[in-house]
Amino acid sequence: MNADKRVITDEQLQKLIDVLIGAGRRVLGPVRGDGVVVYEDIQSVNDFPVGLTDEQTPGGYRLVEAADQSYFGFSVGPHVWKKFLHPSQIELWRARREGENLIIEASGGNNETYAFIGVRACELAAISKQDRVLTGGDYVDTHYQTRRENTLLIAVNCGKAGGCCFCASMGTGPEVRGPFDLALTELSPADEHLFVVEAGSPAGQELLLEIGSRPATEHEIETAKSIVERTALTMGRSMPPDVDVPRLLADNLLHPRWQEVAERCLSCANCTLVCPTCFCTTVEDISDLAGESFARERRWDSCFTMDFSYLHGGGVRNTVASRYRQWMTHKLSTWIEQFGSSGCVGCGRCITWCPVGIDITQEVQAIAGAQTG
């Protein structure tokens, strides 16, 4: 295994970007936005948020100067890769009136190809979960499938855990596992800016050949290993250990804690929309004023909205308590029955980006504590 670990320089990383762009791909990666790290098109390693890191707390995020000039010295931010794989809004089909006839046409597909650079362990795990949900059953979401098949994943082992990260306790990180083409570990950029790299697919191997690399030394392999180990030990929080969370939630559907959290919850839907595994959408029909052309559009939806559970005559989940419970029990409990694994990867986004800082790990703790205690 170790024999497969190689080393590239920052120049070779730049070459990787050049090669991918040369092959016609959109290269997407972390860049500095307005006080946040966002995922956008990149052309150069200088587009990365060099020398920046983040401080994350429940309901708080600040971008600050880091101690060194790392490219990847921060943890996950407000953007989620699903914005490219499972976009927030797409048109499904359109129709137009021609005399007495109605002509229905599928909307143009997406034929872009992508390379994501800087995908974290938790995010890879989340992509696997969305693969399962959107392409793993009888009904395949072809929009997702096409984009997914046209995407190369270049992952990064986390050198720092964020204040709301808890991947270690969810078994999804910080060491990248899931499906990647290349996985990088950024060594301290003090003298030479080096990355230990490993290929996870034939496409990744070919890329390495093209940009050039050298075998990693024992010392470099050890250093890379200790970086992720240290990250695992400095997780911002954790899902309570020794608790069978799916069972716990299933057994406590009438726990008073749901009502307590509902008093703080704004039912604003931020937690679901930033979650890398949440996949729900709704459709809206639009028509022009003349009644000549129509379109059906799909956009992200959330179990926190009233329309989400609207059936004839009204909504099913009228109380905020029932909506919060739906969200959390689906993430941590019923997702397992439905798709065979937990719906949470421990990225902590729902905690950081909740305007009132509701913390899913603390909510589990509260139910577990009150139950056992």
Partner: protein, 265 residues
Amino acid sequence: MTGRQIRPRLAVWKFASCDGCQLSLLDCEDEILGLAEAVEIAYFPEATRAEISGHYDISLVEGSITTAHDAVRIHEVRRRSTKLIVIGACATSGGIQALRNFSDVTEYARIVYARPEYIETLSTSTPIADHVRVDFELRGCPINKRQLVEMLGAFIAGRRPATPAHSVCVECKLKGVACVMVAHGAPCLGPVTHAGCGALCPSYNRGCYGCFGPKETPNAPALSARLSELGMDQRGLARLYSTFNANADAFRQESEKYDQQDGQD
């Protein structure tokens, strides 16, 4: 030409308001011709000279009720309309002029007008729905042009308008706008505010001002608690909820809480 034989008759009515919402309709340059084809604009004093006559299939009502005369006139509008649609914060909640509901209006009149005895007004500004049955409410101060066209298109086609009542936060996330409250500590009414503007202010790094009024199931007390943690004082909270939709239930109840406490301090 189109499959439609009879064009619905449309009227636009004005009550106490600034005209901004009606102007949104005139501002639909690209769509206005389509609209003129799709409906007969039978009464719209801002744009045409047509007289009030007969019955209207769709009435758009802008403005709130602030005079005894208007309180009677709105019933006449209701009688003449099949669908009565109210547009804008004035018509849906009473508007900025509903700040009078919290004070003494004769005092205001005395300060503002040279001859206050000429001013005949009610002591409150109230939404249209307090007076007559309303078929649809389009929120906003002012309304959003895209939503207006969408709503008219929906009524003409006989389908449900796509004007969701969820938070502005959803619009931030659809656009990829990072939350200004989380990332900058900026006070934002988005989590309790009805969507519709496309997250205009957060897109420019400002907190939401609540132009579209309370969303479905708003939890203003929880938001206020968080804003206090972020450093907003009682007076700030009272003012935050007391703008274009000051009279909307969820916002009024919240601002009154802090107004009273402010008075006691």
